[in-house]
């Protein structure tokens, strides 16, 4: 194959490589017991250490959503409890998962790509392989598993904090008393929304960690390559996150 043909086929090659990597990761799941410690380590890095920033972002998005919804409700004939009925489903269905996702695409995605990219260009991944260790099982599986397990946890944190922030701000700015907010939220609450949000966060966790692992694992070209992989990981994660969001909404709602 000539260099030009390869350039044309590059996107398909990349896609194939991505899925082959996933397949290899999937096969490596059998060895999961050996990498137990790594999984917990990654769960702490990806999950626990992200709780403060996720909570902060969620607090503000919940508060802002509440204030803006209140701002948009100009008619005196609409009860203020509608604010709760708007804010809670927005948070549970979309904001909780997407805000967490975007935040972690930057925080976790970039971190994973930088870590794996550095390991790649300094031959640490080769060193692992040369020892007879499965580098995919050792490096990628724990990160993806940790993402899939911890994103729903972060999603719950985000929802609780965002709704809490919404209630708090609504109550203390006098826009909507806490009781009205909750009554409105209850009036229109559908448990499926929460299940759907949870599913979303799980998928986002997978997308972000898998894409970032792919970008990091196949880094080329020294320090500059690591930088490029890091940026690409964050950006590509966000794009695929939105795509996954759309696909899920279109298929399941």
């Amino acid at each position: 194959m000539s260099a030009n043909t390869i350039r044309v086929l590059e996107p398909f090659i990349a896609l194939g490589r991505f899925f082959l990597l996933l397949a290899r990761a999937f096969r490596s799941l059998r060895e999961v017991a050996r990498y137990w410690k790594n999984i917990f380590e990654q769960m702490v890095h990806i999950g626990i250490e992200s709780i403060p920033i996720v909570a902060l972002a969620a607090l503000f998005s919940g508060a802002v959503t509440t204030v803006q919804t209140a701002h948009q409700l100009v008619s005196p004939f609409i009860p203020v409890s509608i604010i709760g009925a708007v804010v809670v489903p927005s948070v549970v269905l979309e904001l909780g998962a997407v805000v967490t996702g975007f935040l972690l695409a930057g925080r976790v995605g970039a971190r994973i790509a930088a870590e794996l990219g550095t390991m790649r260009v300094t031959e640490q991944i080769d060193a692992l392989e040369a020892m007879g260790l499965n580098s995919v099982g050792y490096l990628i599986v724990p990160r993806v598993v940790a993402g899939v397990l911890m994103f729903p946890v972060l999603y719950v944190v985000a929802c609780v904090v965002a709704i809490g922030g919404g209630i708090f701000v609504g109550h203390y700015t006098g826009e909507v008393p806490a009781g009205e907010f909750i009554a409105g939220a209850r009036e229109f609450f559908r448990p499926f929304d929460a299940t759907f949000g949870l599913l979303k966060s799980l998928v986002f966790g997978f997308v972000i960690t898998a894409v970032s692992c792919y970008k990091g694992y196949y880094t080329r070209g020294g320090a500059e390559g690591v930088g490029r992989a890091t940026t690409e990981a964050a950006v590509t994660s966000c794009v695929y996150l939105l795509l996954a969001d759309l696909v899920l909404a279109a298929t399941l709602l």
Binding site: M43, V44, I48, V153, V156, V157, V160, R186, E187, R190
Partner: protein
């Protein structure tokens, strides 16, 4: 701290699971820790009921609607709902769907049967009381009852007034000496009364117009009328209590009059002013006329009262 990572992760996951389950139950309006059991009912019109709407007994929330499902072959709506475990529904319990969709939210109201009856088993049907008939029958049931009560109260008032007249007729004391002054005041009072009468008739005309407007609206707005009727019911209740307190007031008035009879107290002394007698006399005459009219057709007053109450 060999297990510190595992501990952190385990704690986070456990807390998240608990928060998720409790959060969903909280917003589903399911009590967080007590259980519920299922019931269902079948109605012709669900009136916009949706899952999550409250189920109430005497205005207290005891459960929530789980599912509303239209059954085409039988042309009726099956409503599944859940009731808190600590609430027992005896046989004879009926339910109605009330409230207006956009305004207050729709809900199921349960009317409990005789508490002595055996309970309706969980999962069984709670019969629905047809709402339109229910409101009408409530009104038909209650109105004559109220009229009777008003009647008996009026009797009490009449008796009291008789007592007053007896007191005045008593040729004792300084009452007579104050007559002359009273008579001159009576003219003023008579004028005042006449003036008021024209005012009242004006009000009545207004009310008539409003009530004809209302009947026009009624045909269009059955739901709000139903709500108005339920509020009227409340008004009637409060009127009942007002009347009973009026009765007791009458009794107290009796006692006070007895004391006035003795010529003691402030009022006794006040009665020394003969002008007051004149005023009272003409007042009594006016009151008599009013009473006679009231007795002849109490329903007119009652209706006016209702309508006035409405606003």
């Amino acid at each position: 701290m060999k297990y510190s990572n595992e501990l952190k992760v385990g704690l986070a996951i456990a807390i998240a699971v608990v928060a998720f389950v409790l959060g969903v139950r909280y917003f589903k309006d399911v009590p967080l820790f007590t259980g519920q059991y299922d019931m269902y009912t079948e109605v012709a019109d669900a009136k916009g009921l949706i899952p999550g709407n409250p189920v109430r007994i005497n205005g207290v929330k005891v459960g929530s609607v789980r599912k509303v499902h239209f059954e085409q072959d039988r042309n009726l709506v099956r409503v599944d709902f859940q009731v808190n475990r600590d609430v027992v529904l005896p046989q004879g319990t009926t339910c109605t769907i009330s409230g207006i969709d956009a305004l207050t939210g729709v809900r199921i109201e349960l009317e409990l049967g005789d508490p002595g009856n055996p309970r309706i088993n969980p999962g069984d049907v709670v019969p629905s009381a047809d709402q339109d008939q229910d409101f009408a029958s409530q009104l038909v049931e209650r109105a004559p009852l109220l009229v009777d009560q008003v009647d008996s109260v009026l009797f009490g008032i009449e008796g009291t007034i008789g007592d007053v007249r007896g007191l005045i007729g008593d040729p004792d004391s300084d009452l007579r000496t104050s007559m002359a002054a009273l008579r001159s005041s009576a003219v003023t009072l008579g004028d005042l009364l006449r003036e008021e009468k024209s005012n009242i008739s004006g009000i009545l005309t207004n009310v008539n117009a409003v009530s004809s407007d209302l009947s026009a609206i009624t045909s269009q707005q059955r739901d709000s009328i139903a709500m108005a009727i339920s509020r009227l019911n409340g008004a009637m209740n409060s009127m009942e209590s007002t009347m009973s307190s009026l009765e007791s007031t009458t009794g107290q008035l009796d006692a006070i009059l007895a004391r006035i009879d003795d010529g003691s107290g402030t009022l006794g002394k006040l009665i020394n002013d003969p002008a007051l007698y004149n005023r009272l006399d003409s007042l009594v005459t006016g009151l008599d006329e009013l009473l006679a009219d009231f007795k002849k057709n109490p329903r007119r007053y009652l209706r006016e009262m209702k309508i006035v109450d409405l606003f």
